[in-house]
């Protein structure tokens, strides 16, 4: 990757240059002050860059080469499901009938889009084992918030007010953040030695005040990559207390076609289309976080909902947007959700089909266990032990604690050294419960060769660290920049360019 020094596009600006040429006005051109009162007008245009098109293209192409991406190599970022992004999905999403459709188009003239949403809903419903779906949430955390507001509405409808949401200490940070935004209090539940929910602790937390238990949020397989075998009992306990069971679907890629959250007893599920369903991650979005829910939650779903009407006269069905949902929690955002993401994910589901999805999960689990096995060998087995020694599902978590203690290199050092070997490092320091955690999710679209070379690299780095720990401690060396001062960036934040 490029080593040239960073210059922003503002620094490449030169007065008088430009790229865009605009259409002529075609209409009378009075001074703007005659159309809008002068006191509402801007005195100076914003100092946007002045630069011709060729140099804009060069600028962003160069920037792009300073990014590592999924198409550059192995990207085992745990919990993120960095699977292949089929370009077919980009192509169909770009069809004018999708990409150029106005969101306020009369539903009668957007039948294809509504049917597509309906078909995607039906697919997610089958995959999740829950009868109703809303596609509205924009990402996983948005789905979480939706789920908690649904829980609140469900209880309110029954005349109940509950204040507590339970979540294991391994849960993703968005879970507690969503809990607070939804006006609940988080109650942490401990993890047992198998990596699952500590049942005694769960019982204790429920028994403290069962009437206050609104919900338990769970990821299953959890963020350790382990399936919680007690899930049926957990569901019984929570439902017994009158709470809802929320499934954080970030790890759905492990169980598609094998086990369904609805069948496990979950009431509400969010699905990250940008994880299991191949929406490209875009450098941090866009994604989408549809939710699937049980019958008792359905009345409260956000509006609008896609409605399918059978035809009276034997023709095909028609589709509409239903806003007449009196118990709905209301909107979570504008219009109908991230439709472009729906198109991609629906194309993905069509491509794989039911069996293909099940095989994808199988291969994801196979790949994870294989890589786990490779990393249980040799030096890695000693210095980077598995946090919970069981077969994993689609990902697994290692602990760098012995490595740090014995070799003096931290998980962060290992991660940075991996950059020099051409790999994206795993997720690090999460889940919090595991000291010096490395969370590794290879996904099903990686080759055995990639897994092997990653395992070899880890072993090599550990060997190197025995002789020369500074090598990792000061890594990386070959990247466009080396280790960055993040503390400075937070202490004295410079979050925009100063322009003269």
């Amino acid at each position: 990757m490029q080593r040239e020094s960073a210059r922003t596009i503002f620094e490449k600006s030169k007065p008088g240059r430009r790229a865009a040429v605009l259409p002529g006005a075609e209409v009378p051109e009075p001074p703007i002050e005659e159309l809008i009162p002068a006191n509402l007008l801007r005195s100076e245009p914003p100092r946007l860059p002045e630069i011709a098109e060729p140099e804009i293209v060069r600028h962003y192409n160069r920037l792009s080469r300073r990014n590592f991406d999924l198409d550059s190599g192995f990207y085992p970022l745990g919990s993120c499901t960095m699977k292949h992004n089929p370009r077919l999905n980009e192509r169909v999403a770009a069809l004018p009938g999708h990409a150029r459709l106005h969101p306020a188009q009369d539903p009668r003239r957007a039948q294809g889009a509504l049917e597509l949403m309906w078909l995607l809903q039906a697919s997610l419903s089958e995959i999740c084992g829950l009868p109703h779906v809303s596609l509205q949430p924009s990402a996983g955390s948005h789905g979480e918030l939706a789920g908690l507001l649904l829980t609140r509405a469900y209880h309110a409808d029954r005349g109940e007010t509950r204040t507590k949401v339970l979540a294991p200490d391994t849960s993703h940070g968005t879970n507690p953040a969503s809990v607070t935004m939804a006006g609940y209090e988080v109650v942490k539940v401990a993890t047992n030695e198998d990596g699952g929910v500590e049942m005694d602790d769960l019982r204790a937390k429920i028994d403290e005040d069962p009437d206050q238990v609104a919900c338990l949020m769970l990821t299953n397989p959890n963020t350790l990559g382990l399936f919680d075998e007690n899930i049926a009992e957990i569901a019984t306990l929570i439902h017994g207390a009158g709470g809802t069971l929320y499934y954080d679907g970030a790890n759905l890629n492990a169980v598609m076609g094998h086990s369904r959250p609805g069948d496990m007893g979950f009431d509400i599920v969010h699905v990250n289309l940008h994880k299991s369903f191949s929406q490209p991650h875009g450098g941090g979005g866009p994604g989408a976080g549809p939710i699937a829910v049980s019958d008792r939650i359905e009345p409260f779903l956000p509006r609008p909902q896609v409605l399918r009407r059978e035809s009276d006269n034997g023709g095909g069905p028609s589709f509409d947007l239903d806003i007449d949902r009196p118990k709905s929690i209301g909107r979570l955002r504008g219009f109908q959700g991230n439709f472009g993401v729906f198109v991609r994910s629906y194309a993905y589901i069509l491509s794989l089909g039911g069996d293909g999805l099940a095989e994808a999960s199988e291969t994801a689990v196979l790949n994870a266990n294989y890589l786990k096995a490779r990393l249980a060998e040799g030096r890695a087995g000693e210095r980077l032990p598995i946090a919970f020694d069981r077969h994993c599902m689609h990902e697994f978590v290692l602990s760098g604690k012995p490595m740090k203690r014995e070799l003096g290199i931290a998980t962060l050092d290992l991660a940075k050294r991996l950059l020099d070997f051409g790999f994206h490092p795993p997720t690090v320091y999460f889940p919090l419960l595991v000291e010096e955690a490395l969370m590794i999710e290879p996904t099903e679209t990686e080759t055995k060769e990639s897994l092997d070379s990653f395992a070899d690299a880890v072993q090599e780095i550990l060997a190197e660290a025995e002789a020369e720990p500074e090598k990792a401690q000061r890594a990386p060396y070959t990247t466009p920049v080396r280790r960055l001062d993040e503390v400075k960036a937070t202490r004295k934040p410079v979050v925009r360019q100063t322009l003269s």
Partner: protein, 468 residues
Amino acid sequence: MTRYTSATDADRAEMLAAIGVDSVDELFEQVPEPLRLGRGLDLPDGLSEPEVQARLAALAARNADADSEVCFVGAGMYDHHVPAIVDAITQRSEFLTPYTPYQPEISQGGLQAMFEFQTAMSELTGLPISNAGLYEGPSSVASAGYLAIGATGRRRFVVSRGVHPHSRETLATYSVGYDAEVVEVGLEDGLTDAAALADAVDGETAAVFLQSPNFLGAVEDVEALGAAAKEHGALLVVAVDPMTLGILKPPGECGADIALGEGQPLGNRLDFGGPSFGFFCATEDQIRRMPGRIAGETNDVDGRRGFVLSLQTREQHIRREKATNNICTAQALNALGAMIHLAWLGREGYRELGELLVRRTAYARERLAAVEGVELLHHAPVAREFALRLAAPVDRVLDSIAAERGIAAGYPLGREYPEHEDGLLVAITERRTKAQIDELADALGAAVAAERGDFVGDRTTNSPQGIS
């Protein structure tokens, strides 16, 4: 092997051996037997690439999109030209496929683009701090509410009825969780009722929410309206249309604490409503309460300039239940598209585009209001969208113009404003030519006349009711 995977039978055998199991099924044994599905998913078999493409193309063909119709619909998302370089750049693998830049050493491209985006949005809004983008417009409004509660300790929002209905509804949805009250202030001849607003704001008010141009297209006097907020120590939150900020006074110069909005008009497709992005700018003192990612400048161990995700301590990964917001995956690629679009427009082009919109809008407003049976719904100044009142049922007029002229004539205000059942909101972009505006005037005249004929007299004229 399924689609997109590589494990051959030979690979599988070697891998299973290394794991020490006989089959993949064994790995799934940790799922208790009763919870295993035990059947195939009830979904169709996988399809080949040409088949999937044909299937999706058939669905797409059943939508009347802004290529097949001339689109005067706005209401928050607009049929702007997306420069070709936006697609070319955002479709590059290097921007399309990585995730959030957790490893800054190999993510300088994305991080620098965020930094540039923040700079541009800060310039547009006249506020010093910008994040790297949120989901979209309305949920950004709701996020501003959360910030305002944190900043003021109060739980009461005063919202102009000129704020986008989706934003108001989203704020209301979230406010159930925030345990906050939402009070609405009405409009007078298109503009927020200043007196009612002043009455509504009190010492318990966390924030006042305005939008300019508002949903009816009217340009609000934000500065004047905002005085009530200042007086009571409430935050002033202003939703803006990024395409008008080359012309309109930036919220930062009008006393806004937060300026935000729907980013779609900048470099993003219509996409039936998403994905796009929300932008969110604020005054310096809110920096540690901002929602979403923020890129910051720093340097590496060799002193080389670089960018990182800064102020991560606000975020859920670290702060968990105390995070300033729950947002995690946002809309980075969409914000990149916006930045490229802004660079392409450039300082002059951006201003010129604003002028073009204002002038074509003025022309269209005058032209359409002159049509028999059509009048202005309000007389406030407008920038790129305006509201009309029709003397015939709006839905029938829209159907007729769509079927006969292939024009989506506007947004029927009755959908969200029962008091404006006769209202039509018409949006202008640089793609809407004078010829199209003239044709719309003609079509509107004909359709209104036909429907009035229908309505008062003979119902046998062949006014179309179906859709194309």
